[in-house]
């Protein structure tokens, strides 16, 4: 199973890493946000700004790439051989998610480059928090957005399944502003997703924020796994079509 996951991830990355759509999703949208943000808070690039902007790119890229990957599997009808194999669909879909997470990492150095060229870099830039925060954010984003895989495979896809998702998750992830700056009613909801805790740590938080984030990643991953197992079951029992 691990070998299938690894290979599915590798194939996803090698066939899609340089896809124009993927690169555009990972780099263009976050840079636009950066321009807006900088107009309200001018200054050199800080780690939390760099990670937050990269997080927008990761979120957008994971959603776009997941939609693309699952749609292609359905168009190519490659999910049936997987469903009929001993490991079922799970290793293939988890592998695709892992590959998508790796693809989304393009946002981290990509957006930093644009930010630094535009506004320079803060003299006390904390490279460790930028790198560790960025890596954790990619994992956290993929774990949360991974739930979308179930819906993309279970139902005929429509733009409504992904439109708006990026905006909602940008807000709940506290990518642009700290959790405390969010509306009071939104703050407790935002703490339910791991990106908020990763961003809190990037903004100078302590280790417990990371541990909470990792715990939430485990919970979200378990839910993704359970949803894919459920999908396998209903595909076999109810003959849910895994194709277009």
């Amino acid at each position: 199973m691990l070998r299938t996951i690894r290979r599915a991830a590798f194939d996803q990355a090698r066939t899609q890493l340089l896809s124009p759509l993927s690169l555009l999703a990972a780099l263009a949208m976050p840079c636009v946000f950066a321009f807006v943000l900088h107009s309200f808070a001018p200054g050199r690039t800080t780690p939390d700004m760099a990670v937050g902007i990269a997080g927008i790119g990761m979120l957008n890229a994971v959603i776009v790439d997941l939609l693309g990957a699952m749609s292609k599997e359905k168009v190519w009808r490659t999910l049936y051989p997987a469903l009929g194999s001993p490991g079922g669909l799970v290793p293939v879909v988890l592998g695709r998610l892992a590959g998508i997470a790796a693809q989304a990492l393009v946002s981290l150095p990509g957006t930093l480059l644009v930010l630094v060229l535009a506004w320079g870099i803060s003299p006390d830039f904390d490279w460790f928090r930028w790198l560790a925060g960025g890596l954790l954010l990619a994992i956290a984003t993929t774990a949360v957005v991974g739930l979308l895989a179930y819906f993309l495979l279970r139902f005929p896809s429509s733009p409504g399944m992904t439109n708006g998702l990026t905006g909602i998750l940008i807000a709940l992830s506290a990518l642009l502003v700290p959790n405390a700056a969010l509306p009071a009613v939104v703050q407790p909801i935002a703490w339910l997703i791991p990106q908020s805790h990763v961003m809190a740590w990037t903004r100078g938080g302590d280790i417990p924020q990371i541990l909470i984030a990792l715990g939430q990643v485990v919970v979200f991953s378990a839910v993704v796994l359970a949803s894919l197992r459920r999908l396998e079951r209903i595909a076999r029992e109810q003959s849910v079509p895994l194709e277009y």
């Binding site: 070998r3 299938t4 290979r7 599915a8 194939d11 066939t15 168009v75 190519w76 009808r77 490659t78 049936y80 051989p81 997987a82 469903l83 009929g84 194999s85 001993p86 490991g87 290793p91 293939v92 595909a235 076999r236 029992e237 003959s239 194709e243």
Partner: protein, 319 residues
């Protein structure tokens, strides 16, 4: 139903296998109604039936893609529901068509990926994939992406994919559909060789010639139930008892006889474009009579029972 002797749990078995679907109104529709079948190791059995007969549903249940509503089935002794993983590991399957492969990966990459899904050890995976590509005559295209392949090449790659983990059981859904005669013949040769090596093969097909040429047994299904199960020869001879034998006489001159009243067991007859076709209850006696009466004017005379296609049309109510 004709008995074929004792069966074992090896190969493929199905007992009272049933599958119902529910339409949008919630009312059930039976796709497969109590199917019984067994395919022994080394046997090649074809399932024939018109569109909507339930063939694909049978294949999907046996390959673990669809759960039966009731009844049970085994692959190499493993229950397809309770021991799904073991049954899946023992079964190579192909749903055919141009899809089911990754078009952006090469033929070799496709095979190795599916090999990993079936647990083929890494140290032997590449060698096994190259062997199979060689067997299906795709070794010279191993490094090319599949989207450039013709339909026939994709069908052969499907077969290689189904065999990547060297399963004891092979289940193929219309393996030669849409292939040109050369590709279809190559596909039949590959499938036959696999059965000759002692593996168990179950295939669905619309191609009567393919079924007759390849199969030890043919199972005719319609409306989700088995209508007949026998060797192709037995099915044809059985139909001859009901519809008679066909006698074809080709004359060596233009003076064609038209008096057939004395032909033993004559059911009907007609002459078109220099060839006379008779339908008789006793083929041997009729041939002897033709030769005795008109031997000096006969270029050739042949006798045959109804074709498998005619049997199929009769069973499915189209005759």
């Amino acid at each position: 139903m004709i008995s074929f002797g004792p069966t074992s749990d090896r190969g493929v078995t199905a007992h009272s296998l049933r599958r119902e679907f529910r339409n949008k109104g919630g009312s059930p529709r039976t796709a497969v109604a109590g199917l019984d079948l067994s395919v022994e190791p080394g046997q090649l059995v074809s399932v024939l039936g018109p569109n909507g007969a339930g063939k694909t549903t049978i294949v999907r249940m046996l390959t673990g893609l669809l759960r039966p509503t009731s009844g049970h089935a085994t692959i190499d002794g493993f229950d397809v529901v309770r021991e799904r993983r073991k049954a899946a590991a023992a079964c190579g399957s192909s749903l055919g068509g141009e899809l089911g492969l990754y078009p952006r990966l090469t033929a070799l990459q496709n095979l190795t990926f599916f090999g990993l899904m079936y647990g083929v050890p890494t140290r032997t995976l590449d060698r096994r994939a190259r062997e199979l590509l060689d067997q299906v005559e795709l070794s010279d295209r191993a490094g090319e992406v599949v989207r450039t392949f013709s339909r026939g090449m994709k069908q052969r790659l499907h077969l290689a994919r189904a065999l990547i983990h060297d399963p004891p059981v092979l289940i193929l859904d219309e393996p030669s559909a849409g292939l040109d005669p050369h590709s279809a013949a190559a596909m039949r040769t590959s499938v036959r060789r696999f059965a000759d090596e002692g593996h168990c093969v179950l295939l669905t097909t619309h191609d009567m010639r393919e079924a007759e040429e390849l199969s030890e047994r043919v199972i005719l299904v319609n409306d989700g139930a088995v209508r007949a199960e026998a060797t192709p020869a037995e099915l044809r001879l059985g139909a001859a008892q009901r519809f008679g034998f066909s006698i074809e006489v080709i004359w060596n001159d233009l003076d064609i006889p038209d008096d057939w009243a004395g032909c033993p067991g004559l059911l009907d007859g007609r002459t078109e474009r220099g060839t006379t076709r008779l339908r008789v209850t006793d083929g041997g006696a009729a041939v002897q009579w033709v030769l005795a009466e008109y031997g000096d004017r006969t270029a050739s005379v042949s006798v045959s029972p109804p074709t498998l296609e005619e049997v199929f049309l009769e069973m499915t109510g189209a005759r």
